[in-house]
């Protein structure tokens, strides 16, 4: 995509890079400037406020978690970032420039990939084809060119295929490459969905409850993959989880939501000692 929004974004990126100094984490990863900035977001469904005036940012290279009890508005927040919901109030800033209201596919083309809580894969297609759809944003050859200039289209297909195979290897799903996704068990489907999102080489990867419904072993595998993705590709990751234990081990910074409000924001250690957070998780009465 080459719209005016894109070029503005590209300019914004260099501004950000110039103005911010990098931080280095204990394990040697580089955390850069602000990639995504949510400013005073309010989202309503009819009379219900799912998100109440929340601000937080996501920095380049970090793993950012959004946690909270059921119904806290976590998924709504992820849907705002990925363009599936448009907030009534507030601003979304991406790569240093304000993002106008966008359709989800436009957001995807800007370099934000996501997975879904309830898994949204193309059930009838093979694992390989599913992951290849993740490359669609990277394939530039137009339809006429595909029909008339077969060689170029084919070369592009081969290049993208190579990248996809790399990701398939990385996530250890080679053995099911040709299997229709509909036949896979739940845990593997989750991994295929991660592969598809990764195939877009996203600047920001959104994971909606990547470990929901998994057993302990599967959770450990998924945690390892998330860390590896962040480490090897340097991908910025924002994830939702309601399992506190997992999140605290994985993430650099945590936003805590409860009843649509932000009740905590900081490093896992800070959040863990926050009294509001403890109350929310222990179920202290809200009235």
């Amino acid at each position: 995509m080459t719209g005016p929004g894109m070029s503005a974004g590209a300019r914004g990126r260099s501004d950000v890079r110039d103005s911010l100094d990098h931080e280095v984490t204990a394990d040697g990863r580089k955390i850069g400037g602000v990639l995504m900035d949510m400013r005073s977001i309010t989202l309503r469904f009819g009379g219900v406020e799912a998100i109440k005036n929340i601000s937080f940012d996501i920095r380049e290279g970090e793993i950012r978690a959004i946690i909270g009890p059921n119904g806290a508005g976590k998924s709504s927040m992820l849907n705002v970032i990925s363009g599936f919901y448009v907030p009534q109030e507030g601003e979304v800033w991406f790569r240093g420039s304000r993002r106008p209201p966008m359709k989800p596919y436009q957001v995807a083309r800007q370099g934000i990939a996501r997975t879904f809580q309830n898994i949204a894969l193309f059930e009838g297609m093979s694992v390989l084809d599913n992951v290849m759809t993740g490359r669609l944003t990277q394939m530039k050859t137009g339809m006429a060119a595909q029909a008339l200039w077969w060689g170029k289209a084919q070369r592009e297909e081969v290049e993208n295929r190579a990248r996809v195979e790399q990701i398939i290897d990385f996530l250890e799903i080679q053995h099911i490459r040709k299997t229709p996704v509909g036949r896979l068990p739940y845990g593997l489907k989750k991994r295929v969905e991660l592969a598809r999102a990764l195939a877009a080489d996203p600047m920001l990867l959104l994971l909606d409850e990547p470990m929901a419904g998994m057993n302990v072993e599967e959770k450990e595998d998924m945690s390892r993959f998330i860390l590896d993705v962040n480490d090897e590709f340097g991908t910025t990751i924002a994830l939702i989880e309601h399992d506190m234990g997992v999140v605290m081990d994985l993430s650099d910074r945590v936003v805590v939501m409860d009843y649509g409000r932000k009740i905590g924001d900081g490093t896992p250690a800070e959040v863990r000692s926050n009294q509001d957070v403890i109350d929310a998780y222990l179920g202290v009465s809200h009235d």
Partner: protein
Amino acid sequence: MPDQLLFAIEVTLNGLMAGVLYALVALGFVLIFKASGIFNYAQGVMALFAALTLVGIMEGQVPFEHLINVTFGTEIHGFGWEVPALLAILLTMVVMVLFAWAVNWIVLRHLVNQEPIILFMATIGLAYFLEGLGDMMWGSDIKTLDVGLPQGINTWIDETTFNAFGYGFFIDNLDLVATLIAILLVAALVAFSQYTKQGRALRAVADDHQAALSVGISLNFIWVLTWSIAGFVALVAGIMWGAKSGVQFSLSLIALKALPVLMLGGFTSIPGAIVGGLIIGVGEKLFEFLIGPLVGGATENWFAYVLALIFLVFRPQGLFGEKIIERV
């Protein structure tokens, strides 16, 4: 070989050819239904409209000629030129793409996430609108369509079979060409959907809308694309039917024959549309030949529907349709 058997073989072959045309219309339905879940009642009228437009362009008719003459008191009768068939087909295709685009931007865009029945009603409206538009643009008289396809008995088959069996098969050249074109068309569609990125996007949208959005596919683009392809299939079907029996408004009724074809083959399967079309084509011709004389003939009018009814009872998803699994 006994005469009766030779007759039956000839009838079967002719049934296959007729089935190809049914399959072509059914294919248009399947394409749109798969991608957007819309049962496009207007598919048959699209074939008619495409054929009318093709004839109109070839003969150099001025669109809305009658309307213009009545309104402004002018005496326009055509541009006075003739357009070669191939160019006219290309121009008609442009018209069908514009039509696909208009349908999406004027009608379907506003009906996203509506119940299937509402979308279905919208396409019924579309069918009547398009029929009226075709009438107004190009006039309602029966037209002959001649794009230069060979027609008449295939003498080679006639002679060969006569020499072999002592009985010459009557196979129409046009039917042979139609079969060949249908095979090419299906091969092209399969290649498109399997090996191009738009084809992959199309399959993705057919599978899951949300997931498709999340990988950056514009649903609107895909829907315009699908309706354009359906328009192209309609054009091919329109040319075949038009060349066979003239371009007339009863052409839109062939859409009804596609319904039993779809019930047989399944609404979501391209191979199903083809096999279903062939079964109906052969079935109704053979039934007429074998059983027809016993019940006073004219079985071709109802055979397909009865067959579809039987299928609905025993295999509601059709031969190739997705299995219906209900979670309790």
